[in-house]
Amino acid sequence: MSHLLEIQDLKVTFGGLDALSGLNFHVDEGEIVSVIGPNGAGKTTFFNAISSLVEATEGDILFEGESVLGLEPHQVTGLGIARTFQNVRLFPNMTILENVMVSQHCRTRQLVFGALMQTKAFKQEEREIRERAEAALGFFGSRLVGYRLDQAAFMLSYANRRRLEIARAMATQPRLILLDEPVAGMNPMETAELTGLIGRLRSEWGFTIVMIEHDMRVVRDVSDRVVVLDHGVPIAQGSYDEVSTNPEVIEAYLGRPVEGRA
């Protein structure tokens, strides 16, 4: 059967340095997969390669059986892959609502003429954009809606920025969402809440999710499968329990025991 996302022998090289080498990996429809690994393992590079922000040196990335290599980032988003960023990158001067409205760009069509003539189609589309935006924001409870809709994004707290970024990704109407450390910088309560929401993203919105995460509790609670990267090479794949007991993984995280003492 064909997978939703399939990575074949992916290799990304920066100036002679292999950020990723020989990554083979697939995601099926409706899965939640976590990518973990120590810092510098190439996790974000992996996301950047999928969303075409960096170019793959070798290998192929197939989305629904079609290669996405060589597409512009906006085309990748258009195919149905949305993402968030590790260091939260919103459009700080736009309102919260606008942040989510703008990400539906690739799903909408109206151009200058409609806006100037205020055609029926234009108004209809604007209404739909707004409704979808509010629906995505409403997913996070009352935090991002109401009077907040017209506030500029930079006024939000750190946790809310992360939530807004997820809402923005949701609004692109993707099939696959790439979450880059969604709970980084959140406190335990917020983390727990977001963990639940990630589960609901799949059950209620039907998204498939690939997530980079350092918080092992989150990884354990939501993921169907875990992939461990180290120095750009996948060292283990499987369920959380399998992976967490894998000696190679433990070594990658904790280091090799010094021989003399062992």
């Binding site: 993402r83 260091n87 919103l90 459009f91 700080p92 703008v102």
Partner: protein, 616 residues
Amino acid sequence: MSATMSAPSSTSKAAPALLDLDWRRIGKWGGLCAMVMVLVSLIGMPVGLERRMIIEGRLSLGYLSLVWIPLLFGYVVSKRVVLEGVETPDPSARDVFAGLCTGVLSGLGPMLLVLGIDNFNLRDPLVNWGPQLLEQLTFGRGIGFGVAAWFGICAVLGLLGSLMHVLPKDVRRVVSFVTYGLLFISILEAVISDLSEGFGLESLTDAMYAKRGGLTVKSSIILVVVIGVFSILTKGRLKGATSRYKELQGEERKRASIVLFSGVAGLCIVLPLFLGKIVNELLANVGLFLLLALGLNIVVGLAGILDLGYVAFFAVGGYTTAVLTSAESPFFTPELHFGFALIIVILMAGLTGLVIGAPVIRMRGDYLAIVTLGFGEIIRLLFMSDWLKPYFGGAQGITNVPPVDLGFATVTGIDPRSVFYLVLVFCTLAIYVSWRLQASRLGRAWMAIREDEQVAEAMGINTVNAKLMAFVVGAIMASLSGAVLAAKVGSVFPNSFMILVSIIILVVVIVGGMGNIAGVLVGSFVLIGVLGGPRQPGLLQEFQSFKLLIYGALLVFMMLQRPEGLVPSARRSQELHQEEFLQDAWLKGEDHDREETEAVKQPGAVSGVEGEGDPA
């Protein structure tokens, strides 16, 4: 600075000693003030602006160009850094004293200059070093008097400047109302006398203004009283009205907007009928530049593309119109009607926008600025060259561009009122277009690109197409302005399309407020209307030779102190001062939401989001 540094030294709670000041700071600002005064004098402002009177016989623009300096520095030197939550000592006599000291110190500037001019001859490199300046600086009454007078004036002004912090808010309001009101009325002399003539009230202006220009002493006293009373009466009303307008919802808001709009539209249509030729000419110029500025606002303000060669599109509009309508165009003379020509102008401008836009659109923002500047210059040089002379007339340009025949009226440069009406139509259109686009899918895409191009791309926006679109829309607006210019002047020359024009429009957009239609409106009225465009005089014609200097200084000042412009869009000003904002919010404990305060504790995260981040 001074406040926090000197505060601990005065340990007693009682009023600190008068002399307990930050002398270094006073020395620095006083010295700077003196230097600025000398510089302004040597640049020739006092002499060059002497002819223009503000108040007859008392205050000329020449002296005004000097006296605002100690006033401002007095204000600055006694200003305290107000930190929310940190106790700021109340302004006291010490601050006023600091202002006074700064003022006295700045008196050194004119003093040294007067003595210098009297004893040395530096006329050779410094063109303004001479008896005229000396005469002006000594008030024509001898060296001793001049020096003493300047110390006195500077001291008083420094004192006044610092007093602004001490005075209660209401008094401050009245004082600033009176000052700005007087200046305003004096600057608008031409407009007001035109208007009153139109309404048959010549006697009023005769009483108000002196024959050689400027308010009469008597009328200025009356005006002071009137404005003062007015400011007391309107206290709080203006703000109330705007906030009430903003609070209106739905239908009511709509109705209020319609009333407001029709009011403004009515004024725009009716007022010019009562205005004379000169003022109408001025309005027409303001309109032409407003049209340009609206276009640049889309490119720079919304899409964040710094296009320094914007004048190229202006030139394309002008030349296309000239070639298509003029009988004396050297190569191709279809002598089309202006209306038909306009369609081709729009097509040409769009095409030029694409051709210039395509190669530069993927460049880094700052490279793009320089390359577009290069393109702007290339286009002008080509129009001027012998090579294209057979087509565009070289340096002599194309003359004899016919007036616009509308059937019921003719728009020609001889009748500036008609030009103004034509420009008004285009400006209204441009405002409508900017307004509608801003709130559309395309406008949001532009803003997203301005904020963070890479993320915009990752969120599904085809940035290349969206940016090209911005280029094209901006180009079309500029070309319309060029077309009207050609019809108005009756000819086009390459030298009307210098890079200077681009930069002046950039100043207009930035001073008014980037990305904000109201800001652009205010910017063009204030700058082009008062100071004038690259070749067009404004209300203060005497500024002709200094306006570029002022534009440059304004650009620097705005970028340093008020990057959001005169009329900021509310959001933008929050962002540009976001650190202050966050700090205030935290200290005020405004956010009861726990997570909000947490965000404030991580300013690193805040600054990490804005600007261009790296891809990793």
